[in-house]
């Protein structure tokens, strides 16, 4: 079943007529995701890969009963697009766009909370429940249906680790990218809670990086709540210098806070296995399940 997205998702693509929007709409359709409509202001009435395009979210929702959106709108207009999705009543909103100003992101998150919508991103590869639904830009063939829930702050690093998990025949229940920006819609704790009650998820791979304190909060949550499923963590940026943004807007050590070491220490103190290198994530998980088999 996985979390947040399944076969029942009826998605719209905001920014469907752009290069990225159109390209990924094709891949979403190929994967079997129900893309019921697209939205691009002033392009209503056209079609992209057979998907009808509307000028506004409300029209698309009214005509097709959409319940989710994936946003490819350029940074200057993306927050507005997300607010339109929130006000249009969509409950799962994936913002792929990078470079949205933090002030705008903060506003979007507050409005989403008010309307009971879940925002994934911004600056995220999205979410995939292998074999069921993809609402994202990740290369689908890397993922196989299985038992590991992946939650991550990055894109390609996640594909690297997911490929390792697929190769060990564990597969994934759902893989969700929180997004590489300083302010994003979901935290590790939010997603850990979802995985905890998801029947298909038997273990969690948590992929963090420098900046902020979401990893520390996750470690605290795991130890405080006595988290019931095994978690393996990986933290990128052990060699990152302070005060420098490492690609992601959110990957920055500020005033000594947000270092990889602080996150690793927090996980270890919480009894969470920390992988030293990406390939260790799948190895640690596989070892765990081999052991259980013989008990």
């Amino acid at each position: 079943m996985g979390v947040l997205v399944d076969k029942g998702i009826k998605a719209i693509v905001q920014g469907i007529t752009g290069t990225q929007g159109s390209f990924h709409t094709k891949l979403l359709l190929d994967y079997g995701t129900q893309v019921v409509a697209g939205v691009t202001p002033r392009k209503g009435g056209t079609r992209v890969h057979g998907v009808p395009v509307y000028n506004a979210v409300k029209e698309a929702v009214k005509k097709h009963g959409a319940n989710a959106s994936i946003i490819f709108v350029p940074a200057r207009f993306a927050a507005d697009a997300a607010l339109e999705a929130v006000e249009g009543g969509l409950k799962t909103i994936v913002i792929i766009t990078e470079h949205i100003p933090v002030k705008d992101a903060i506003h979007v998150m507050a409005r989403a909370k008010q309307h009971g919508a879940t925002v994934i991103g911004p600056n995220t590869p999205g979410i995939i429940t292998p074999g069921e639904c993809k609402l994202g830009v990740m290369p689908a063939h890397v993922f196989k249906p299985g038992i590991v829930g992946i939650v991550s702050r990055s894109g390609t690093l996640t594909y690297e680790i997911a490929a390792g998990i697929s190769a060990k025949r564990l597969g994934q229940s759902t893989c969700l990218g929180l997004g590489g920006d300083p302010v994003v819609g979901l935290s590790f704790v939010d997603v850990l809670k979802m995985f905890e009650v998801d029947e298909d998820t038997e273990a969690v791979a948590l992929i963090g990086e420098i900046g902020g304190n979401l990893e520390e909060l996750a470690a605290e949550f795991i130890s405080r709540e006595g988290y019931s499923k095994p978690v393996v963590a990986f933290v990128a940026g052990r060699t990152a210098p302070p005060g420098k943004r490492m690609g992601h807007a959110g990957a920055i050590i500020m005033g000594g806070a947000g270092t990889a070491q602080s996150k690793i220490d927090a996980f270890e103190a919480a009894g969470v296995g920390v992988a030293e290198k990406p390939s260790d994530v799948a190895r640690l998980l596989a070892k765990r399940f081999e052991k259980e088999k013989y008990i």
């Binding site: 933090v102 060699t239 210098p241 490492m246 806070a257």
Partner: protein
């Protein structure tokens, strides 16, 4: 983008936050003139974008215009923490009764802005947090309602103020919030905010950092950034910025090019794990055209410390054969001036590998093996 102290102060005084009387000088003569106008003891402050400027000797005091001229002469010829002092701020020295700390910052995990204040200003907030955490007051700002005068009063009251001083302090904090919102600040900080014996509050040192992603809304600073660059950036980082590459200079000798921030950070970590030392972070993002790859290679090769370049690409939506053609195109254009180790996996990897192998470029498929190989070459020269 970090603003210089004098730029931030201009912004703050436009919002009626009082700042010391003074002026910017790029010559000792001008510093003397400004000091003469002020006609009182002055502080002479190096305009550099590094933290801990005071401790590094970047702030001098003078009691006469002649002394101000000498102080300026001294500062304008120095480097502070590796950065050349190109201008100085000459300001009247403010009488201190008490030094406070005020800021508006982004609270990432609570997804909101936060007002932070302390009665123990004058040192960095991290030091206050470590020494006297109980003396820090924080108020989270509801994004849908904003920070209001009554919130600001509450903060001033919690710092121990009442009456007109409470009102004055609250007004400064409210104005600071307005600056932060209007300028898309990641951080708007006054430290110290000096309370004078007369009960005035003066912003003696200020910091304003604008969210890079919002710079398009602040064209005056965006223009300065593209024209002059950010003075704190090393030359290679400035060049990278112009070509739109996410590059960070490090101290080692293994050059790195990869796609995706997390993957590149991890590549650096793995290099270190195997005993090597990365020379840079460079994320070329999605797609890897010959243009982008050539620009990336040029940049990494131009670092004299680099002994080997490790290209680590995981093809997702971007196909490996496209990446391979990009690498070949770049090789044709700039040449492989130093040894290059390529790791290429993902969509269409067989085709990608075939293209590169046919051109005599050896391709590895494990990131860890490739990192080991690159470290070995850096140590032995091949």
């Amino acid at each position: 983008m970090k603003l210089f102290e004098h730029e931030a102060k201009t912004v703050f005084s436009n919002y009626e936050i009082s700042t010391p009387q003074g002026g910017l000088a790029t010559s000792p003569k001008r510093a003397r003139e400004i000091a003469a106008q002020i006609n009182a003891p002055v502080a002479v402050k190096a305009q550099v974008l590094v933290a801990g400027r005071g401790k590094a000797g970047g702030i001098l005091f003078a009691v006469s215009p002649r002394e101000a001229e000498l102080a300026a002469k001294k500062l304008l010829n120095t480097e502070i923490k590796g950065f050349k002092v190109q201008s100085i701020l000459v300001e009247e020295k403010i009488h201190v009764q008490r030094e406070l700390y005020l800021s508006i910052a982004v609270d990432r995990s609570n997804r909101c802005y936060v007002a932070i204040a302390s009665s123990e200003g004058g040192v960095e907030i991290e030091e206050i947090a470590a020494a006297t955490p109980e003396k820090i007051v924080k108020v989270f700002v509801d994004p849908l309602h904003g920070f209001r005068l009554h919130h600001a009063r509450q903060v001033a009251k919690r710092l121990g103020y009442s009456g007109s001083r409470m009102e004055n302090l609250a007004t400064v904090l409210l104005k600071l919030y307005e600056v932060a919102m209007d300028y898309d600040a990641e951080l708007a900080e006054i430290n110290p905010l000096v309370e004078t014996p007369e009960g005035k509050f003066v912003a003696v040192d200020t910091r304003l950092i604008i969210d890079d992603n919002a710079l398009y809304r602040h064209s005056e600073f965006e223009r300065r950034l593209t024209e002059e660059g950010e003075a704190e950036l090393p030359p290679l980082e400035l060049e990278a910025r112009k070509s739109g590459l996410a590059y960070v200079k490090l101290e080692g000798n293994v050059g790195v090019i990869g796609n995706g921030a997390g993957l590149v950070m991890t590549t650096l970590d793995v290099i270190q794990l195997y005993g090597g030392s990365p020379a840079n972070f460079l994320d070329i993002g999605g797609g890897a055209s010959a243009d982008v790859m050539a620009a990336a290679l040029n940049l990494v090769f131009s670092d004299p410390r680099v002994k080997v370049v490790f290209i680590n690409i995981l093809g997702g939506i971007t196909r490996c054969d496209e990446v391979a053609r990009g690498i070949l195109g770049a090789k044709g254009r700039v040449g492989f001036l130093k040894p290059v180790v390529v790791r290429l996996v993902g969509t269409n990897e067989e085709e990608g590998r075939r293209i590169l192998t046919n051109a005599g470029i050896h391709v590895l498929d494990s990131m860890e093996e490739a990192a080991k190989r690159a470290v070995e070459i850096a140590k032995t020269g091949g």
